[in-house]
Symmetry: D2
Subunit: 123 residues, 4 copies
């Protein structure tokens, strides 16, 4: 079994690890597009030292591109230190010129790698 075969997915409304991708379905070419990613929108994921979401990476693969390009990498660093706990959510901003797919890869320190994707049409 390869590492990519361990990447899990599902419906984020029923599986708390699946990253949720908040982005418009249609955006204008060359305009700033906000992409928010979060985990636990419906069912909260634990956020403890022993068990937490460590990072989320955001990629974009244009419809005529061969490979995904990494756009952003969020690390949720605090898990109880001095009472601080970072929530597993991040927002990034990018200009899109071509339609394609936002891909998200995330990692729970106990339950491994998870993925999700959402198409974005550029007019």
């Amino acid at each position: 079994m390869s590492i990519s075969q361990t990447v899990q997915s599902g419906d984020w409304k029923g599986e708390k690890h699946v990253p949720v991708i908040h982005v418009e379905d249609q955006v204008a070419a060359g305009q700033d597009v906000e992409i928010k990613v979060s985990i636990g929108d419906e069912i909260q994921h634990p956020n403890e030292l022993e068990h937490h979401i460590v990072w989320i990476k955001v990629f974009f693969k244009s419809e005529d591109g061969k490979f995904p390009v990494e756009i952003a990498d969020f690390n949720f660093s605090a898990h109880g230190e001095d009472g601080l706990k970072t929530e597993p959510t991040g927002v990034t901003k990018v200009k899109l010129e071509k339609s394609g797919t936002v891909h998200v890869l995330s990692y729970c320190n106990i339950h491994g790698l998870w993925e999700n994707s959402k198409d974005v049409k550029v007019k």
Copy 2:
């Protein structure tokens, strides 16, 4: 000269590298607090392969804490690949129990390390 002595600062309205910290002055204890950091709010910083903002780290130091705790680490990954450019901005969310200071450290691949801070009062 040590690495910490190379960290630069200034007024973000006049110096384009200084990270801007967007957070309420007063927040309620134990509630989610959104912290947005960005670079170039007044004067845009270049966003090219040859010259771009690479990362921003967000810390919090409570007023009775001895050391800053890292809350989030944002990497702006795309700088022209397949036409994609990540804007140097990120949003994180954290619950605060005690008043303190949000500290931000950022890195430009040409102009090195920069910092800024903002106090937050927890009621």
Copy 3:
């Protein structure tokens, strides 16, 4: 196509992107194990601003573990700045208690995600 389906692999002797994993086949339980990962051992990969290896992540999945655990994350940060270029190689150290598999995931800013793995027996 999901992001995990874009992860490529192959024989590192013929495909320059495939990460090479240098670790003993057999190690003693509870002893420090050095794991070196590198890209381009046989055929060099470009190391330019326009085209370079950005990061390598190292995971371990024990034979009775359900999910891979991230051990280390290497970012190769310099690609020409002030003449500096980080080579795409890193070394990490970990104690293993159980046999399993070292998994490596890497990212080229032009050619996307790549993976490789190597079994390690703990005596």
Copy 4:
């Protein structure tokens, strides 16, 4: 107090947090130089979920360069998950053309930021 003013240092033989920089004093121009960084060479630092070294960043500032350039960023990801603990050490490789200083910045989740540096002469 700014974040850079919180960065601590000292003699690594007496203070367990200070990163140790292993690199030759003199190297040849344009040759691969191995830089090993580690924490706890003399006095071991704890490596537990509750208390551990999270990351080390390596920079180089050439003697005629104005700013430090980030060479590598190591994240020590495992702190007990499935029995795995990443040791706080990493090795990177870079070609140097000019004499200068290797700077290292590191972060303990309990004791904050630490730094050290070492000069390297390029012949």
